[in-house]
């Protein structure tokens, strides 16, 4: 503090700090922005304005407990951000879901977000479940699939509870091929399906012939080629490195994966050609080339592998999962047993205020859906929006907005990730480690870049946008967090 009050004087009536009368004024303005109008064009004033919002929870008793444990929380959070920043996710193998994903059984279907039963599932998720059941030959017709699903013959479970993640509906069924990602630093694994591309796809709830045909092709052609390629590369595909480079190339690896997909393609293409016959190599390369989002599932799984290593650190207020199932939005917090199957904190999933494709409107939009918010949880996606100015228009904003999204996220994160740099911010590290306490205190909710699904199954993506996480899961988690740390 650059202030002249170093003289300690016990007489209270003298030596009042007169720095504001004699020196320059440095004003911090909380509240009415118009008060700063008077400061403009004056040489003896500098100022900063703060748009004040009341905290999400203002009960002083809760904050008193937080303050008492502040040191424990700080050091736990330091441990968590150390684990996140030192994570080293590699693509090490490909396998069938049932052979790789822990806890997966023949009648298991994994889905995005927190737990949800069939009766509460949204349209796109139901459609995707039906599609998966047809693909698995669990049912012969969509009608039969619905009946079976409603009778409980399918075991539904969140991807996140099986170390997996899935975009949009996030459906993973036993026969689907999955990428296996290993966090080389901590030895833990994460799983994700291979991305199907845009248009009529399972993850948006489509299940017609073309969708099933593609899933079959992925199983018969894409999967073996990928498997052999990764093996031939000795499982040394460094996803963190690709993400770091892609952030310098205009991606935020959630809504834009064009650079990351290209980098991935470049690394794999020669090996694919080497381990496959010409026709298969052509088909696979052509498929990846035609899908800018091919890398999305990998960036998500990389985030998952990184964040899982930061689970279950006692006293840590860092969020390790944000995920949506199209009905509810759920989070988990490291210090509230985030490694366990339980401990979700949920609230209603918001409908994105998005930019809609021609012919569609907000009325068509499904509430927010998908595990892809794991990218924001890692500190990329919406958090690294300043890296991806080319898609801000797509999500209805200006470049300045992109910058603002990222800057505001520094307010609620515990640290910065030096591996994920943002060129426009002089290569400052992306905001990392969402701190539940800061979210509550500052009333700033994480921003999430998202695609918008039609609320009816099978229609697909109808828009894209940026949205804020809902307040409810954070409020519930905060109250629980205070309870847990006071035990």
């Amino acid at each position: 503090m650059n202030m002249a009050n170093t003289n300690i004087n016990t007489n209270i009536n003298t030596n009042i700090n007169t720095n504001i009368l004699t020196g320059d004024l440095k004003i911090i303005n909380f509240g009415l922005k118009s008060f700063t109008d008077a400061f403009k064009g004056r040489s003896n004033v500098s100022w900063a304005h703060v748009d004040f919002k009341p905290p999400l929870i203002s009960d002083p008793a809760l904050f008193k407990i937080i303050d008492e444990k502040r040191e424990l929380i700080e050091s736990a959070n330091q441990e968590v951000v150390k684990r996140i920043s030192s994570g080293r996710p590699f693509l090490v193998a490909a396998a069938r879901a049932i052979d790789a994903i822990p806890g997966m059984q023949a009648n298991t279907i994994l889905h995005a977000g927190p737990p949800v039963e069939w009766s509460k599932m949204c349209g796109p998720m139901r459609g995707a479940v039906i599609g998966a059941m047809l693909y698995e030959k669990m049912a012969r017709t969509p009608e039969e699939a619905e009946i079976l699903a409603s009778k409980g013959s399918v075991k539904f479970s969140p991807c996140h509870e099986h170390k997996a993640v899935g975009p949009m509906a996030g459906i993973i069924s036993p026969s689907m091929p999955v990428f296996i990602i290993k966090n080389e630093e901590y030895g833990n694994y994460a799983y994700a399906t291979m991305n199907e591309g845009l248009g009529k796809v399972l993850r948006y709830g489509a299940y017609d012939e073309s969708v099933l045909e593609r899933l079959n092709w992925m199983e018969k052609t894409l999967f073996p080629v990928m498997k052999r390629t990764i093996e031939a590369m000795s499982g040394k595909i460094d996803l963190k490195n690709i993400i770091s480079q892609a952030l310098h190339m205009g991606d935020e690896v959630h809504n834009r994966n064009r650079a990351a997909t290209s980098l991935f393609y470049r690394q794999l293409a020669p090996i694919i050609c080497k381990v496959s016959n010409a026709e298969d190599a052509f088909q696979v390369l052509n498929f990846i080339n035609g899908n800018d989002h091919f890398f999305l599932n990998l960036s998500m799984a990389a985030a998952k592998a990184t964040l899982d290593a930061a689970s279950d650190v006692k006293y840590s207020s860092i969020v390790t999962i944000m995920a949506r199932n199209g009905t509810e939005f759920g989070i988990k917090v490291s210090g509230i047993g985030s490694g366990s199957e339980k401990n979700w904190f949920t609230g209603e999933a918001p409908i994105p205020d998005a930019l809609f494709f021609p012919g569609y409107s907000r009325e068509d939009a499904n509430p927010d859906i998908g595990d892809s918010a794991i990218t924001e949880t890692l500190g990329v996606g919406g958090f690294a929006m300043a890296s991806a100015p080319s898609i801000v228009q797509f999500v209805g904003g200006k470049v300045a907005d992109a910058l603002k999204y990222t800057l505001s996220m520094y307010e609620i994160t515990a640290s910065e990730n030096s591996a994920f740099q943002i060129p426009y911010l002089n290569f400052r590290g992306a905001p990392m480690g969402i701190d539940l306490i800061k979210v509550i205190e500052k009333n700033i909710l994480p921003v999430i870049n998202t695609g918008v699904a039609h609320r009816l199954p099978g229609i697909g993506q109808v828009g894209a946008g940026v949205l804020n996480a809902p307040t409810e899961p954070f409020k519930k988690a905060f109250i629980k967090f205070v309870e847990v740390i006071s035990e």
Binding site: N5, T18, L21, N29, A48, H49, K442
Partner: protein, 538 residues
């Protein structure tokens, strides 16, 4: 968007926007925008954050809808009553959509250009930011105390514009501040000028050798602009908030400010402005004055104030206080008898002319009452003291010992001095210093009262206040004059303009515009009140 709850006239409709917090100025802008849509059949409206109090107010105003039930404090609630039009709800649905869109746009308008050192969004931000030495706090009173505490702990002086900060919090903050040798201006401190920089509602005044300590916002605006317009100057004007001089707070900030001015080499004369301090506080103030610097005090409403005690020169009203301090500052002594005689004479001359006009232009009628429609709280007290009518003859929603309490602040009675900035008028609506629509409505209502002879209006300029004060004023004044002409009546319309020609609104332009609209413009509230009194007393 549903239409619900039929009341006596019109239909009430509205909506809730979840988790959208707006500060009071944004709410004002929104409600102004809604008011501007009068042509769409809006009868009444309210735009508020859904606090318990506000919900209660909505219920009382008949603007409550069942769907507000689930709204929380951090939600925005908009309610409007619209004229019922052939049972077709489509129109009001569209109207609500338009309003919602305007709110959204308002949200977006926040541009990112960095005009300060930093622009940070969101919550309980680090007050350590940029090593600030003054925190200017105008957030909701419930959160203001916390922010102020953080600022003090960070060795930062505080100006608390926010009101509704509990008295205990004020005492705690000020005790801590005193220990840390820091200043807390406020809570409810509307005005300060530090080193020429206007803070909150304040004016562009000359710099000079007069230091002002004030527990009254409008009072400080009045004396600082008067001194500046006389040709004098202000070193600093330090506000304390109205409660500082009460027993509980013990004048902590008032005394510290006085001390600061005693130590400040630039300050030669000290001018104190407030309501009468508690006697313990008064004794401390008197003790503090050591004669090294001249101290002039205006304790509005104090008994036998025109005297000297312990080296303090007491004056009755803001004008006399400002004039005395100015004269001393340029070495012309403290005697103001001559100047005050001239003010009185000129007031008498104007009053004589007005009395004649009233008499000649209201044939067969005998209008005899005045109506003061004020936006500045301190002026309301000062006017009542200057007018000095019988207690049964003068009414106010904020009565002094000279007047009686209005039964309903919205309905005038005999001579009425009303403070339109009081809570009963401003709940969910903009303050009358920012938005004149409430006063304009009231003005047209008073004009219709055949017993009214004099209208008094205050136009407070400067930062924070209405940036284009004449935009809606002139047409309203013209309407008033037209109405009167039609009824073959005359009412004296008096106005005082508080400001300088360096203010963003330029007081010279405002005065000219008012004069052109047939208003008698005075330089101070004291002069206006004096003229009004002379007109009424005959």
């Amino acid at each position: 968007m549903d239409i619900a709850s039929k009341k006596n006239d019109g239909v009430v409709c509205g909506f809730v926007r979840k988790g959208e917090y707006y500060d009071s100025v944004s709410l004002m802008i929104i409600s102004k925008k809604i008011k501007d849509r009068e042509g769409d059949g809006i009868i009444d409206s309210s735009v508020v954050m859904a606090t318990k109090d506000n919900i209660l107010n909505l219920k009382q105003a008949g603007l409550y809808l069942a769907k507000f039930e689930s709204a929380e404090e951090s939600d925005l609630v908009v309610a409007i009553r619209v004229q019922e039009e052939s049972g077709d709800s489509g129109d009001s649905g569209d109207l609500l959509k338009t309003i919602e869109l305007e709110i959204k746009n308002l949200n977006k308008k926040d541009d990112t250009k960095n005009d300060g050192l930093a622009s940070v969004c969101g919550g309980s931000v680090d007050v350590n930011l940029m090593n600030a030495n003054l925190a200017l706090i105008s957030v909701n009173g419930r959160y203001a105390g916390d922010l102020a505490l953080k600022a003090l702990n960070n060795n930062t002086h505080v100006m608390l514009f926010s009101d509704n900060v509990p008295l205990e919090t004020e005492v705690e903050l000020k005790q801590l501040a005193r220990k840390k040798k820091l200043l807390v201006m406020g809570p409810d401190c509307g005005t300060a000028i530090i080193a020429g920089v206007p803070l909150a509602f304040a004016n562009e005044v000359r710099r000079g050798s007069i230091g002002v300590v004030g527990a009254s916002g409008t009072g400080m605006q009045e004396v600082t602009t008067l001194i500046s317009n006389f040709g004098g100057g202000i070193s600093h004007a330090i506000g304390t908030g109205g409660r500082d001089i009460k027993k509980e707070v013990g004048g902590i900030s008032f005394l510290m400010a006085l001390q600061m001015f005693k130590d400040d080499p630039q300050t030669k004369v000290i001018l104190l402005i407030s309501k009468p301090p508690h006697k313990e506080v008064m004794n401390k103030i008197v003790k503090e004055v050591d004669g090294a610097k001249r101290v002039v005090a205006v304790f509005l409403g104090a008994e036998n104030s025109s005297s000297s005690r312990g080296g303090i020169i007491f004056r009755d009203n803001l004008y006399e206080g400002a004039l005395t301090a100015y004269k001393i500052s340029c070495g012309k002594g403290e005697n103001i008898d001559e100047e005050m005689k001239r003010v009185d004479d000129s007031a008498e001359a104007i009053a004589r002319g007005e009395r004649k006009k009233i008499k000649n232009n209201n044939v067969g009628r005998y209008p005899k009452y005045l109506r003061g429609l004020y936006s500045g709280g301190t002026f309301v007290s000062e006017a009542q003291l200057v007018l000095d009518f019988e207690k049964e003859e003068m009414f106010s929603n904020v009565p002094t010992h000279k007047s009686s309490k209005l039964e309903d602040a919205k309905i005038s009675c005999k001579n009425t001095i009303v403070d339109l900035g009081e809570d009963e008028f401003t709940m969910g609506k903009p303050h009358p210093m920012i938005d004149y629509s409430l006063r304009n409505e009231r003005l047209l209502k008073e004009i219709l009262d055949p017993e009214v002879a004099v209208i008094m209006l205050d136009y407070v300029l400067g930062y924070g206040a209405h940036q284009d004060p004449m935009s809606d004023t002139i047409s309203i004044l013209k309407r008033a004059k037209d109405l009167l002409a039609k009824e073959k009546r005359y009412i004296s319309i008096l106005a005082t303009v508080t400001g300088t020609n360096k203010d963003p609104q330029n007081s010279d332009l405002v005065k000219e515009a008012l004069k052109a609209a047939g208003v008698i413009v005075t330089d101070s509230n004291y002069q206006m009140s004096l003229i009004a009194k002379k007109i009424i007393n005959g």
